[in-house]
């Protein structure tokens, strides 16, 4: 499994790939700032959170090499994300319907 990681590391295009991810992160940032300037009401929060999730998954997968790691890393990360999501969801229900 570790070979997968090495395959990536020996790849000469990795620098261009990282540059491309960086450019898309900047583009997403400008979208976030632009959208905040428009009057979209409650949609603005949904858009901002969606973009933040897209940006962080780019960082996780490419910059943090999760895409090239063993399956166990992906499982751990999923459990971590799931735990946070459950805490958020249960807390929201508490405050929305109390």
């Amino acid at each position: 499994m570790n070979d997968e990681h090495n395959d990536f590391t020996n790849h000469n295009t990795s620098i261009y790939k990282h540059l491309l991810v960086w450019v898309s992160l900047l583009v997403f940032t400008s979208i976030t700032v632009t959208v905040a300037g428009l009057n979209l009401g409650s949609y603005a929060l949904i858009i901002a959170v969606t973009i933040a999730i897209i940006k962080s998954s780019l960082v996780l997968n490419i910059f943090m090499h999760i895409k090239y790691e063993d399956l166990i890393f992906k499982i751990f990360l999923t459990i971590g994300g799931f735990t946070i999501a459950v805490i958020f969801l249960l807390t929201s229900f508490d405050y929305l319907y109390r």
Binding site: V33, A36, L45, L77, T91
Partner: protein
């Protein structure tokens, strides 16, 4: 077998046991605890934002979006430079690795300088935890600024730790103990730095861009 230059002892050249995957996993497990630390604060933020939305919106207008955006660009770029440092070390280009780690440190310091000016301006306007002016504001605004100082402050503390971490790795790279065959320490410093970046990706719209 070969000689160690300093001790004239034989150094075994056969495989020394090393577990890079385990080392990275250890780092990830630590990052999950960080995720819970900030996750708890984000839950607190979400609840108070829901309860005091109008106050949060008004208080958010006081924050400097330009500095916030600038700092976002700086942190995203520093994430790029640290990942490029890893790529260059994999290509056995030690000098470029050191240069890019140095640029990462530099960007982190610029981030902190911006943060310093931002906080100084706020404090100058009498907005800081426990200040007379802040306490005269509605509860929602007090909570907003409380969370703002705690969350961006804790994040800034992580930036300072990250600078120290990256500087140590920079020294290791310069003296050769981190090299193209053994760079898991550099990878772990990178992982820490990217986590700090991810947290900012969420902090930025939540505090600076409330609609």
């Amino acid at each position: 077998m070969k000689y160690n230059e300093n001790t004239l002892d034989y150094v075994p050249t056969h495989e020394v046991h090393r577990d890079d995957v385990g080392a990275r996993m250890g780092m990830w497990l630590f990052l999950f605890t960080e995720l819970l630390l900030f996750g708890g604060l984000f839950v607190t933020y979400a609840v108070y934002r829901f309860l005091y939305y109008p106050d949060f919106k008004i208080a958010s207008l006081e924050l400097n979006v330009t500095i916030g955006t600038l700092n976002t660009i700086i942190l995203l770029t520093s994430s790029l430079t640290v990942v490029l440092a890893i790529s260059f070390l994999q290509k056995n280009n030690r000098n470029l690795t050191i240069l890019f780690l140095f640029i990462t440190d530099l960007l982190a310091v610029i981030f902190l300088i911006n943060k310093y000016f931002e906080w100084t301006a706020k404090i100058h306007h009498g907005i800081f935890p426990g200040s007379e002016h802040l306490m005269s504001l509605p509860n929602g605004q007090i909570l907003f600024y409380g969370l703002y100082y705690v969350m961006t402050g804790l994040h800034a503390l992580h930036i300072i730790i990250g600078i120290i971490f990256i500087t140590i790795i920079l020294i290791f790279t310069a003296n050769g103990s981190v090299n193209s065959n053994n760079y898991v320490k550099l990878e772990n410093a990178g992982l820490y730095w990217h986590l700090v970046d991810i947290i900012w990706i969420f902090l930025f719209p939540f505090f600076y861009l409330i609609q």
